[in-house]
């Protein structure tokens, strides 16, 4: 019983975090929200008995992807508004 409550709770958290990723319009703050979303997805995988997937989701979704996005934003900013 308590397990299904945990599962439902994490699913709702994931849905809410996914929504906030979309509605955070500023890309720099969005990168941080994406990192949090990736972490939540990792926890969801852990709750639903998928430790392998959780490990790769936390490594990729919470670390590698936000990092790549921030680096791309830094390059875009460096190019200036009109080249």
């Amino acid at each position: 019983m308590s397990e299904s409550i945990l599962g439902n709770a994490i699913l709702l958290f994931v849905a809410a975090a996914g929504t906030s990723v979309v509605f955070t319009r500023d890309p720099t703050s969005q990168a941080i929200v994406v990192s949090f979303y990736g972490l939540l997805l990792g926890i969801m995988f852990l709750v639903f008995r998928a430790p392998d997937v959780a490990l790769s989701q936390i490594a990729i979704g919470a670390l590698a992807l936000p990092l790549m996005i921030l680096l791309a934003l830094a390059r875009v900013k460096k190019q200036g508004p009109k080249s």
Binding site: D52, S56, A64, L67, M68, A72, K78
Partner: protein
């Protein structure tokens, strides 16, 4: 079309799509009651027949190793694409932006960041290697370990000056690691052809379950994938870093 008109169109089509989702998902059994014979079969054979205690690794690197080869080359190709896209084109000025304006200096990273990053480099490498070589025993494997290994160059970037960063890391090393990893996978397939089996058929001695040497070919493939993913992801990140780093140098 104005944004307002477009939004109305989007909402109508989204409602239609939601209805399609409802129709598609309705026949599915509720959570936890889907039954797949393939899953049961893999769970039943993974320890007795393959000597691999992590069933997901058994699926990825043994039962459907050929598919994973394709997956690995998706990553390989995408890294190549990133490198081509990030290369500086000949018609492009060497960079101009506000950080280079006279009288403006780029603030250095704070000491706290640098010390933390320095302390984390060695544990990150060790953890990545651990995850790579224990793929067949516990959760993890080449993909996860490779991503963790690729975080090491970024930590070095955070904790060092440009000159040291250049000395410690080379694009060349990452390139060799990526290519060698991809080649390992194919070579393992050729080994099983040489032993008289099918491409990527697991013919090496299976070892004792739960140990580092169990699973026959799987640990070798894991190390290959770890090198490929670690090298490839480092290359992609370095490609994004490259120009930023050039700025830091001056």
């Amino acid at each position: 079309m104005t944004r307002k008109v477009r939004r109305v169109f989007i909402l109508i089509s989204a409602a239609a799509l939601a209805w399609v989702f409802f129709l598609a998902y309705r026949p599915l059994p509720p959570l936890g009651f889907v039954h797949s014979q393939y899953g049961d079969l893999v769970n039943a054979i993974t320890v007795p027949e393959r000597h691999i205690t992590d069933a997901v690794s058994a699926v990825n690197f043994d039962v459907r190793a050929f598919d994973t080869l394709g997956e690995e080359f998706i990553l390989f190709t995408s890294v190549m694409g990133v490198l081509v896209l990030m290369r500086r084109q000949s018609d492009e000025p060497a960079g101009h932006h506000e950080d280079k304006a006279p009288g403006r200096t780029v603030p250095p990273a704070s000491d706290a960041v640098r010390v933390t990053a320095l302390l984390l480099v060695a544990p990150a490498m060790l953890f990545g290697l651990y995850i790579v070589v224990h793929g067949q025993v516990s959760p993890g494997g080449g993909f996860q370990g490779g991503v963790i290994l690729a975080s090491a160059p970024v930590l070095v970037y955070l904790c060092s000056e440009y000159a040291e960063f250049r000395r410690v890391l080379s694009m060349r090393l990452a390139e060799v690691s990526e290519a060698a990893g991809a080649a390992t996978y194919i070579l393992m397939g050729l080994v099983s052809l040489g032993l008289g089996g099918m491409f990527l058929e697991n013919l090496l001695p299976l070892g004792r379950s739960g140990t580092l040497t169990s699973g026959g070919m799987v640990p070798f493939i894991d190390v290959g994938v770890g090198l490929e993913v670690g090298g490839g992801l480092s290359l992609a990140l370095l490609a994004y870093l490259e120009e930023l780093v050039e700025e830091k140098e001056q």
